[in-house]
Symmetry: C2
């Protein structure tokens, strides 16, 4: 059997079972007294991650940003990022200058820095970022922990990355920056965690639907989502298929929280204090299914989104 | 200008200067009270790291081992390893099972575990490991800190990986395990650090000569090495060019220390307590050069060893 027959998430499950010590959360945790150190690692490569027209600066920014997004989802304060940069031998030296400038700018913007690096020779540009964070154990926001009745909410707006992807597919190269210049919700995650109200949290990297299905598996319960409540980005609205882009397209890197109703006001206030929206989009249900309520009718939300190995191409 | 015109070490220097916050040590350090958290990351790939005949189990072991070797060089206790595994979509699912088993066995053998993982689709097998360790600040062994007169010493024996490489080049595939089943000197590093006597330390991944030249740059002083004193592995001796294989071939992953003469006995005793040799091979000199004394004559040691991008191929 080949990887394309099972997909990325099944492959991760096989590995996690073998190791026995992987928590299937956004970050691994290391015990450090009353804190956790958070470690997360993400590999990106030319084949599946970089749209046409991607500039080295944007790629550097992107690798750092998507790793910081995982730290943000746990309420963590970033304390450093390391980068392993695999490049072909005939790559121009300016690539590493521009790439490093983008990586450095992103790290600094979110209060941290690049603390280690490495370069290796490979066939096609492949970069592995690792971000390290710290968070008080008492406010760590896990993926597992929601209860029926909890409010499901998301930061910011969804669908912009999907809309940019559609524009790129239509031949408009100028939208690469909308996909790569990701804004990780670091301050928002820290603010939400400080309220002690979030029961489950993850970042939305492969689309809202995919994230909800992952939370369903981990928590053993489901969600009912109100389509009209989803905050759709105006770029997605303009394309006329905003809900589709918000649910089934990856790349938005917003945060997805569940919060008990009596805490929702406090969590929203804390997140809004950073200058970001927090919108209720549904609730946790005592039934292992992800439902979408649209035009007054409830149906099962499709379980699709970007997944590696399945023959999909994020960028054509 | 392309990367093949400048090589890996120059590329790392460009990046380090841009970041300003990279310490050019084996590991990045994060302040944690009276300890440092140590982070190191290493990417390996089919093109430059895997010899013909390499089994997925051995590749899994190798990625974990070379990262633990960097933790070992700082005297660190490993606390976890994460792995980003980039694979082609047509790779067999058994690859990840066998790879994960090798990675897990190596981590457990050296007292730690795999705490996080990720898979991505790429064109050729590319794996990025990140190891995390901790060490008391007072016994951290940096790359910079040696003084003229310090003893230069190495753990174990050198030249085995080079000898195995030569055997592979001669068509003998059964030596892949000698290259990939690396034995990181974790216990030896912890033992050496505990004595408070090591003034500079790094692991020997690209050959002894290359490591000495790197320490020379960082410390602004040089070394005089006695060829007859180098502990050459018997596989290298058998090939009749033991010193060549010990000095200029990578892959041995032994530790290289400098130690003041009055502390050397204690450091050696501590390392020998783990069941490993520690051999004096020369001394630190007040002159920015790396000298080799052979047959009573002193000459400049060549500055060569494995380096990415320079058109060398580790495995043909």
């Amino acid at each position: 059997m080949e990887l394309k027959d099972i997909g990325e998430r099944e492959a991760i499950k096989i590995m996690a079972e073998l190791y026995g010590s992987v928590n299937l959360d956004d970050c691994a945790t290391i015990d450090a007294g009353n804190e956790f150190f958070l470690i997360t690692t993400d590999m990106v490569n030319e084949k599946t991650h970089f749209p046409r027209g991607a500039a080295p600066y944007q790629i550097g920014w992107f690798v750092v940003a998507i790793n910081l997004s995982d730290i943000a989802a746990k309420g963590g304060i970033p304390v450093g990022v390391t980068l392993s940069v695999g490049l072909p031998a005939n790559e121009d030296v300016d690539f590493i200058r521009e790439f490093s400038r983008g990586a450095d700018d992103c790290a600094k913007k979110f209060g941290t820095e690049i603390i280690g690096g490495d370069t290796k020779e490979v066939n096609s540009v492949t970069i592995c970022g690792t971000a390290i964070g710290r968070v008080k154990k008492s406010i760590f926001m896990p993926r597992k922990g929601c209860h029926p009745g909890d409010v499901v909410c998301v930061t910011g707006e969804l669908g912009m990355a999907g809309a940019a992807l559609k524009a790129l597919e239509a031949g408009n190269d100028e939208f690469a920056d909308k996909i790569l210049m990701v804004n990780p919700r670091v301050r928002e995650g820290i603010a939400a965690a400080s309220v002690h109200g979030v029961t489950a949290s993850m970042d939305i990297s492969d689309g809202l639907a995919s994230s909800l299905y992952q939370l369903m598996e981990i928590n053993g319960m489901g969600f009912s989502i109100n389509a009209e409540g989803i905050p759709v980005h105006e770029m997605a609205e303009l394309q006329g298929n905003g809900i589709e882009l918000a649910l089934y397209y990856g790349g938005d890197y917003e945060l997805l929280f569940t919060v008990p109703p009596d805490k929702f006001g406090d969590v929203r206030k804390a997140v809004m204090g950073t200058g970001c929206r927090l919108t209720a989009v549904g609730e946790v249900i005592d039934n292992k299914a992800v439902m979408l309520v649209e035009d007054g009718r409830e149906k099962i939300m499709e379980n699709r989104g970007y997944e590696h190995f399945l023959g999909e191409k994020l960028f054509k």
